[in-house]
């Protein structure tokens, strides 16, 4: 089971959980498992065509999956998947 770190703006959609365990051999499968467990996260993560939304950054440990194999990036049981949307607040 990989650990998925949920950003504050998505936590209302995971019942307040900041970290969720999800099964899957690839980043796409892990995020799919997250979306199965917490269906309200699906529309925020994936576009209609099933690809990752461009405004959502996803990291495997500390590496952006865009520079790895994207959703096909292999995930191990001890890996952490970080979901990170941009934040703008400064005031």
């Amino acid at each position: 089971m990989a650990t998925v770190k949920i950003p504050p703006v998505l936590r209302p959609r995971t019942g307040g959980e900041a970290e969720v365990s999800a099964d899957g051999e690839t980043v796409g499968a892990v995020l799919g498992a997250l979306a199965d467990a917490h269906p309200e996260t699906r529309e925020q993560l994936f576009g209609d065509d099933g690809s990752l939304n461009r405004y959502v950054n996803v990291y495997l440990n500390d590496e952006d999956v865009r520079v790895l194999e994207g959703l096909e990036t292999a995930v191990g049981g001890s890996d952490t998947v970080v979901i990170l949307p941009a934040m703008a607040g400064g005031r």
Binding site: V9, Y55, V56, N57, D64, P85, G89, G90
Partner: protein, 387 residues
């Protein structure tokens, strides 16, 4: 054998007779201020060099340092080597200066500045040289809010010579939980003015330039051009993308942080040396994923933590020390007191700093080809800032 302490009057009498005075401090302390008759021999070198300085162990020597701790220790060391006629100037160069006795400085700092910034100049990484860089630097703060307030306070204390502040807002009571540069009496006055008043009271070395306006594509290039470093504490995506595009164009480094609730993130964008904001976030999120602090709340202390991390980045960039957060995004979760560091790479396809980014004609500057496309939606949806 107890160390012989020599008061200032006695020290001056002996110096007039030609007694050697050895300053056992470090080079950076010497550069800052020294006694003209003294010779610099840092304490780590003294034992090795004493034969050459005083071949005769009975020669009269005076030692001094900043106060008199290091010199007393060294006098004791020399006594072990047989030097039995060594005096220590009581109170060191601090007492010497306080007595109004003449000193020499290679530093370019005034006496008041040497006192004010002594805890900086004592750091070999900063030193007088780094402090002069700070005093000559110009830093622009975007916003005198949750991030900008602590950043401005500490940069002013650190002696950043020119601090520009862009903000078109007035101080509101709801700001005071975190915007520590303002205070209760200033409710209703311009934030730039309130910030200037606090900074001027804190450090007369700092010149504050008030930009009581809102950044837009018509004024941004002119506004940021005179500054060395930009600190982004904006509260909305259109401003963040606009600042990025303009700063890449003018090759200005941007320290970017954002805060929400109990969470913050920060990175340092140095154009063409590392990624830019668009490399990290190619498109802004939809409004429902981009709530403002006003709508969501923010822990005041967390804003302070992130603002001071920004100030820390500014100091490093200006002084040219340490490892700035270039190509790294640092996340801070205050509830868990946890930091996470993520790698950020330059995007070869970045529309602003990528390999194929279009050359923008002079007349097109400030228009930023895809700015409306990327930010128009977010801007239209933006709720009025409750700051």
């Amino acid at each position: 054998m107890p160390v012989e302490m020599v008061d200032l009057d006695e020290a001056r009498r002996e110096l007039a007779e030609g007694v050697k005075l050895i300053d056992v401090r470090e080079q950076n302390e010497w550069d800052e201020v020294h006694i003209e008759a003294a010779e610099l021999v840092p304490q780590d070198e003294l034992v090795a060099r004493i034969d050459e300085i005083a071949p005769d162990t009975s020669e009269r020597l005076l030692l001094h340092c900043r106060t008199d701790n290091r010199s007393a220790n060294m006098a004791a060391r020399l006594a072990e080597l047989g030097y039995d006629n060594v005096g220590v100037v009581e109170g060191g160069i601090v007492a010497w200066e306080n007595a109004g006795l003449p000193t020499k400085s290679d530093s370019g700092l005034t006496k008041a500045q040497r006192m004010r910034y002594s805890r900086h100049t004592l750091l070999s990484e900063v030193g007088v040289e780094g402090q002069l860089k700070l005093l000559n630097s110009k830093v622009l703060l975007l916003g005198a809010g949750g991030l900008g307030a602590p950043t401005a306070l500490y940069l002013a204390a650190a002696g950043v010579g020119t601090i520009g502040i862009v903000d078109d807002d007035v101080v509101d009571e709801s700001n005071l939980q975190r915007q520590v540069i303002h205070n209760t009496e200033r409710v209703g006055i311009a934030k730039t003015t309130s910030a200037r008043m606090t900074i001027e009271a804190l450090n007369p070395d700092v010149e504050v330039i008030e930009h009581n306006t809102r950044l837009d594509s018509s004024n941004i290039l002119e506004l940021i051009e005179p500054y060395d470093v930009i600190v982004d504490g904006a509260d909305n995506f259109p401003t963040r993308y606009l600042l990025n595009d303009a700063s890449v164009r003018l090759r200005k480094p941007v320290i970017s942080a954002s805060i929400l609730g109990f969470d913050g993130q920060i990175s340092t964008f140095v154009p063409y040396e590392g990624p830019c904001y668009r490399c990290l976030y190619p498109v802004p999120p939809p409004p429902e994923l981009a709530p403002s602090c006003g709508a969501n709340g923010v822990l005041g202390v967390m804003a302070g933590v992130m603002g001071l991390l920004q100030a820390n980045e500014v100091i490093k960039l200006v002084a040219g020390i340490g490892e700035p957060l270039v190509g790294r995004l640092l996340l801070y979760e205050s509830l868990g007191t946890a930091f996470t560091e993520l790698k950020v790479k330059r995007d070869p396809e970045c529309p602003i700093c990528g390999e194929h980014a279009p050359e923008i004609d002079e007349s097109e500057l400030g228009k930023f080809p895809d700015y409306e496309l990327f930010c128009g939606a977010a801007a239209r949806e933006e709720t009025p800032a409750v700051v």
